[in-house]
């Protein structure tokens, strides 16, 4: 509602590059504009992610961890980089998940320093339900015309590829 009107006043500090011919100004504006809109929508809907996680008695971060623990085992340090947080943080995180028997630490044979994380039976089951729930599109997408959905999907696929 308000992050929109002031979009213009903010772009005072325009990037100094972007000078090739004569199309660019619009270019920068377009990306910024689309991004602001996207951010607005997404932010509105990320707000209830905690509630979503709570449906499974998980904190948001715990849900995120389960999400990353797809199939194979993962070293704790790898998880730390995935979460882009300090390794010491992961210790407590995993402690709590292990206490709930959703995850197991098992030390690697090749390198006895590292501990690999694997989902338990219960953990995998919970993760399945969680992922299914997370895949449910939010209202603003459910009520989108079909052609917009197709277009959106295409754009996103392209973006992911060049990422």
């Amino acid at each position: 509602m308000n992050g929109l009107g002031e979009g213009h006043s903010e772009q005072a500090g325009r990037p100094p590059e972007a000078r090739t011919q004569g199309v660019e100004e619009a270019e920068v504006g377009l990306a910024q504009q689309a991004w602001t809109l996207l951010f607005e929508l997404l932010h509105t809907h990320m707000r209830n992610f905690p509630a979503l996680a709570a449906e499974f008695d998980l904190s948001p971060v715990q849900a995120h961890v389960l999400r990353q623990l797809g199939e194979g085992a993962l070293a704790m340090s790898t998880l730390a980089t995935y979460l882009s947080c300090d390794a010491s943080n992961v210790t407590g995180l995993v402690d709590r998940l292990e206490a709930r028997k959703l995850v197991e630490r098992r030390s690697s044979e090749q390198d006895r320093r590292v501990k690999m994380l694997v989902l338990t039976e219960a953990g995998a089951e919970l993760r399945g339900r969680l992922m299914a729930r997370m895949a449910r599109p939010p209202p603003f997408m459910a009520s989108m015309p079909e052609e917009d959905l197709v277009a959106l999907g295409d754009i996103m696929r392209r973006a992911l590829k060049t990422q």
Copy 2:
């Protein structure tokens, strides 16, 4: 790079509804698909929001509060609903911002129970820089073809309208 390959394995637990005629299956699939892609991209990018906020010596939540404190004054309870968190949480939040002289509490004249929040001079200045920084589109959008940007913008505007 891995939330994609397993997209298929997850939809094993397909929603039991979705049985009416013969068109819906694709419908559900489209929204879910687009949503999953969007979520993937957004999540990747949201990961460094803490770092972005840290550029301004703010925590992510503090940045969010500043974002909401646009122009007018805001009651603390209103802010609580915007943040969708408990009112008691806002107290501490505002305490810390006020300690840094970014925000002021002033009690309302009409209703002496409520305290209105306003940005200080410094707060408004910081918010300006923050908003400009947040408007900078992430790499995956900066490298998008122009027509995709236009399409994306249009889709998002439509979505926001019907929201």
